[in-house]
């Protein structure tokens, strides 16, 4: 079993690790010890600015910094990064194509006890509809570190979705795993059905594949860390070779990974796509583990959805 570590923690460490680049400027909105931008802030205080609880202004300041050639990172909870400051992200950052990395932590239901107001299940949908926005949702610590490197190398606006809760580190022990921005990673081969997962549902998808294997169903598992630009090739190949797809995400089933995959499949290689995620309802208080069960974000539910998808094959 790999080390259990939250993607926000891995992110904070990576930002600090690669933070020596003098061109990087970092902003937070009074959540440094939550988003883990605190590591960078401690090491490079001259390039760190706390905007206070004023996310709109933080986004605008980062846009101004990026207009001067900086690589700017802004941090807050996903709810505010994608929700509260949607207009600022769209008009001050994305429309001028500025090099600002919008980092939303505490995404999804796994925020836990804070409840529905803080459990953003709409961010992938909101961010991916902005033209030119790159949208990334890594599944574990190893992948998150790779994402930070790639985002620094990429000149343009990005949205990065991170989680609060610890998740098992898996990608560094999967043979052949290689991170490339905009390319999905196949973690397991199979030809009966494909499970396409993002974020912490990748680990659950692998568990679901094991459950399916016990029943003789060979499931392919794809980690789609980059929601946009989406890796059409890996999706179309999966549609052709397995004939049925299940998507799984810690996000509303409307507008997120499932919708993005379905858009590709319906236009290029129509096969059944069954979406698994939060069924268009708000979250609730509770432990992360209890919420995942309450809302059906479990390997067993993925198995059910996989069987549905297989049954829909012609």
């Amino acid at each position: 079993m790999g080390e259990v570590i939250a993607t926000r923690e891995a992110y904070g460490r990576a930002l600090c690790e690669f933070g020596a680049d003098e061109n990087i400027m970092v902003f937070d909105a009074d959540l440094t010890i939550c988003t883990m931008s605190c590591y960078f802030a401690q090491k490079y205080p001259e390039r760190f600015f706390n905007a206070g609880i004023a996310e709109c202004n933080m986004a605008g300041m980062a846009a101004g910094a990026a207009s001067c050639g900086k690589t700017a990172f802004i941090h807050t909870f996903a709810m505010f990064a994608a929700g509260r400051i949607y207009d600022q992200v769209r008009n001050s950052i994305a429309y001028p194509g500025l090099n600002v990395k919008v980092v939303g932590t505490h995404a999804g239901l796994s925020v836990g006890e804070d409840g529905a107001t803080h459990q953003c299940i709409e961010d992938l949908s909101l961010m991916r509809t902005i033209p030119g926005m790159t949208v990334i949702c890594p599944c574990d610590a190893n992948e998150t570190r790779e994402v930070v490197k790639a985002m620094i190398d990429y000149d343009g606006p990005c949205y990065l979705r991170l989680g609060r809760s610890g998740v098992e580190n898996i990608t560094d022990s999967i043979p052949g795993y290689k991170f490339e921005l905009g390319k999905g990673a196949q973690l397991k081969d199979g030809d009966d059905v494909t499970i396409i997962a993002t974020g912490l549902m990748v680990q659950e998808a692998l568990k679901a594949a094991d459950l399916l294997a016990a029943e003789g169903i060979k499931a392919r598992v794809i980690d789609l860390h980059t929601i946009k630009p989406i890796d059409k090739d890996i999706i179309i190949k999966a549609a052709k070779e397995t004939g049925a797809i299940v998507t799984t995400e810690e996000h509303n089933v409307i507008g997120g990974l499932g919708a993005a995959v379905a858009e590709v499949v319906t236009e290029s290689c129509p096969v059944p796509v069954v979406k698994h995620g939060v069924e268009d309802v708000f979250g609730h208080s509770g432990t992360a583990e209890a919420l995942m069960v309450k809302y059906g974000l479990t390997p067993e539910k993925i198995v059910e959805k996989a069987k549905q998808a297989i049954a829909l094959k012609k």
């Binding site: 605008g60 207009s67 900086k70 207009d87 194509g97």
Partner: protein
């Protein structure tokens, strides 16, 4: 400021207004009222005070200007074109489907535009980001911004005001174009932001109030801002919406609606008469 220089700037401002109005006429669309109230401020900035070079619009050491009231493109683009950033004749394509000169300021398309704007309330934050970079990189450039007085009803302006005061950004100078009118009426009728000065003072700004159509006062306020250490400066510029054309002045109808052909003709006549009087 010498009287001769005042006359020169006045003549330049008339030219800016005429050029802006020609663009609006060509487009059959555009915001004339706020463009005319801010025209004298832009004239002093671009011909008298800002360290800019039209040959090097992206010079990292240049002064920056953010038109947070991003709809006032007619004056912004007329100023940039007349200052030499791009051909004046391109303004004939303003707001045209194939033109690079669209309705709100765009930094990626228009040479000399330092920040895109349009959604009100956002430009001050960007100006602060630029000013912070100047401090981090130990550069001497100055950052200017112009806000509408209706625009400061936006909450983000006050988030930004708090930040600039908190950071003590003395390389930042902000104009509030206080023409007292917004789409639905006077700013007091809609949602009064007065007293504007006291609000910025409370956020630790250096505050100046001037006649926004007096070239010497505009220039003097900019100099005073430069001399101020440890605090950003806001210049509350008392202005007249539609300034320069008699029937447009203080007439909210001309916020964004297009004048009739007769009104265009009359307006050009008035501006040309002002130009002729300044040539003497």
């Amino acid at each position: 400021m010498e009287e001769k220089r005042v006359q020169e700037l006045a003549a330049k401002a008339v030219k800016v207004r005429r050029t802006a109005l020609e663009a609006i006429e060509a487009a059959h669309s555009g915001h004339v009222g706020g463009s005319f109230s801010v025209a004298d401020i832009l004239t002093v900035l671009y011909w008298e005070k800002m360290n800019i070079n039209p040959e090097q619009p992206k010079d990292p050491d240049r002064d920056r200007f953010v038109l947070s009231k991003g709809h006032c493109t007619p004056t912004m683009y007329a100023t940039l074109a007349l200052r030499g950033f791009f051909p004046v004749e391109d303004l004939k394509t303003f707001r045209n489907v194939d033109s690079y000169l669209s309705g709100h300021v765009e930094m990626t398309k228009v040479p000399g535009v330092d920040m895109s704007a349009g959604s009100l309330g956002q430009g001050l934050s960007a100006a602060i980001g630029m000013a912070l970079c100047g401090k981090v990189d130990k550069k001497d450039y100055r950052v200017y911004a112009a806000l509408g007085d209706g625009e400061i009803q936006e909450g983000q302006i006050w988030e930004a005001a708090m930040a600039a005061g908190n950071y003590g950004l003395d390389n930042l100078t902000v104009f509030v174009d206080n023409n007292n009118l917004q789409i639905d009426g006077t700013i007091e009728e809609v949602m009064s932001p007065y007293p504007i000065e006291d609000k910025f003072k409370a956020f630790k700004w250096n505050v100046l109030t001037i006649d926004g159509h007096d070239y010497a006062q505009i220039a003097d306020a900019i100099d005073k801002a430069k001399e101020t250490k440890g605090a950003p400066t806001v210049i509350v510029a008392k202005t007249v919406k539609g300034k320069g054309v008699s029937f447009m002045e203080n007439n909210v109808k001309f916020h964004g609606s297009t004048p009739t052909p007769e009104q265009f003709e009359q307006a050009f006549k008035e501006l040309d008469a002002q130009a002729a009087s300044l040539e003497v």
